[in-house]
């Protein structure tokens, strides 16, 4: 037998500058987000100077009497601030879900809609509009629709054994998404062209124009609750990228992990779609950009995706409401911006390995 021989060589970890680089990126993104928030609150048809805003902030913090007239306060507290918070939450939710799914499904072309959540949420909302339900019920129906679609998809995946679990999930998602999409089409056809169809169409294009402070009481908790499991499981989500077999051999219960990640992402995405309608591209492009910046490790990808997504959607929404006299649908804008960015990523992205 040969003698054992171990070769010792110095181990070079990741360069120390890279750790610094990551921290710099996170801080930079957080500061950028803060800046966008401030700008977003300052911009709008109702003119508010920076000085007004600052005075208002000071007054609120110190509890003094507000220096602004009542309508100005209404604009800030009831109209602009809820919308800014909603855009931030929706952007964060979509980006985080996209990042989680891209790891879970081991595919950079995956968006949060892949399991049909958007199609189901759209169907729920359209049913609500079709039945002339109150707005709160429409939003609830949208939320439930999204959850149901994913549950059906997951049920199908569980029922079909003996094949690659991920593949079955994706295919079932495509099919169920198409089914709910057909349902939406049917309801659009049956809907009243005067009263219902415009509302349906606008909902499907995505918009935060009608954001109400009350919407936040369901949106913000849902996004927070959804982010928690993803954050806690960030190390394990990385291991899931190795595939079911290896991940199991390394000690993970891949089935449970998959359920938890899907449930968290679906909760967030359903709540986001219920609040804003269908907004695409954020969940696909933002995680990509984040990955290009900080690499694939979910421990880094999650916070950066959240910051990028929140900032991106907030910036786009601010443009949507300030560019013209009329509101531009948010989904249209994100597609118009997302497509060229995505093409650029495909063409020139450095670290988009998966080649």
């Amino acid at each position: 037998m040969t003698r054992s021989s171990t070769v010792f060589s110095p181990i070079r970890r990741r360069e120390p500058s890279s750790a610094f680089g990551y921290r710099a990126i996170v801080i930079g993104a957080a500061l950028a987000l803060l800046l966008i928030v401030v700008v977003a609150v300052a911009l709008g048809p109702y003119q508010l100077s920076a000085r007004d805003l600052f005075a208002f902030l000071i007054a609120k913090v110190t509890g003094a009497v507000s220096p602004l007239p009542a309508p100005a306060e209404t604009v800030i507290l009831q109209i602009r601030l809820p919308r800014v918070l909603a855009a931030t939450a929706v952007g964060a939710a979509l980006a985080a879900s996209g990042a989680a799914y891209q790891s879970l499904f081991r595919n950079p072309l995956v968006s949060p809609d892949i399991l049909g959540v958007s199609a189901g949420a759209a169907f729920g909302a359209v049913v609500g509009i079709f039945l002339s339900l109150p707005v709160l019920a429409i939003e609830a129906a949208s939320f439930v629709g999204g959850l149901m679609a994913v549950m059906i998809v997951y049920g199908i995946a569980v029922a079909i054994r003996g094949r690659d679990a991920v593949l079955v999930l994706v295919l079932a998602g495509v099919v169920i998404g198409a089914l709910f999409g057909a349902g939406v089409g049917l309801l659009k056809y049956l809907a009243d062209p005067y009263n219902q169809l415009p509302a349906i169409t606008f909902w499907l294009l995505g918009s935060l124009a009608a954001t109400n402070p009350r919407d936040l009481t369901s949106l913000l908790p849902a996004v927070a609750i959804g982010l928690v499991p993803l954050a806690l499981l960030r190390w394990r989500i990385d291991v899931m990228t190795l595939g079911d077999e290896e991940a199991t051999a390394l000690g993970l219960d891949t089935r449970v992990l998959r359920i938890v990640v899907i449930a968290a992402a679906t909760l967030m995405t359903s709540a986001a779609v219920a609040a804003s309608g269908i907004i695409g591209w954020v969940g696909l492009v933002v995680p990509h950009l984040a990955r290009l910046t900080v690499g694939p490790a979910f421990t880094r990808l999650l916070p950066v995706s959240v910051l990028f997504g929140a900032g991106y959607l907030l910036a786009v929404d601010t443009v949507a409401r300030t560019l013209g006299a009329v509101e531009l649908p948010l989904g249209v804008l994100t597609a118009a911006l997302g497509t060229p960015v995505f093409l650029w990523l495909l063409g020139f992205g450095r670290r988009t390995a998966w080649s």
Partner: protein, 265 residues
Amino acid sequence: MVVSAPRLAIEDLSYGYPGHVVGHGISFTVDAGEVLCVLGRNGEGKSTLFKTILGLLRPRAGTLRVDGEPIAGWNPRRRALTFGYVPQNGGGTFPFTVAELVLMGRTAHRGPFAAPSAADREAADEAIATLGIGHLAAREWLRVSGGERQLVLVARALAQEPRILVLDEPTASLDFGNQVRVLDAVRSLAETRALSVLLSTHHPEQAFACADRVAVLAGGELLRIGAPAEVVTAETLRACYSVDVAVLPVAEGRYRVCVPRLYLD
């Protein structure tokens, strides 16, 4: 006299897929510090056997025991603390660094939400050092060539601190030098850490390089099992691969080479 149970015991195992049994009636044991080399032709089911042992596939029949205890009810975490797996084409397609990948081997050693501890990093570093791939630690996994990838995967399995190492054709895509290095590492791991090692190979000669015992699978059954000198013979090889082979001792019998008769004519 108390005879302790073997580290790994396979009892009358039938393995395969639902509706399709690949192998049956397989029984053997592997002890601590022992290297068992499994030979068999393509499609014989070596990978399937290994996956069944690892718990990735359910046994169709029979019992698997570790230290005498049946492992049928074990959860993935417990299995991962016992078995280290080095797959044929593992590592995934994400651009993690080698160091990050090896660190993933420590997953089973901590809770579901925990970040890697200092102990985890130490174990990973040690595994990397043992395999001599320190110079690769910061490199992106996908930029590592096929041969060195195998060493990374072995390091990852090693970081798991398993008691049984299962390697599915570890030398399949390695150059000659790397083949030697991997087999040497495997051998020394078995010796120094008293690991049980189960590996499969398409080169019967390698059994002489590293194995304590050899098992030959043919026709879905265990044809022979025993010391390499006994098992790796011309008739066994003919039954296994349907090729006429001459098994010739060299270097005063310290090693044997397997030469197809075709080349000798």
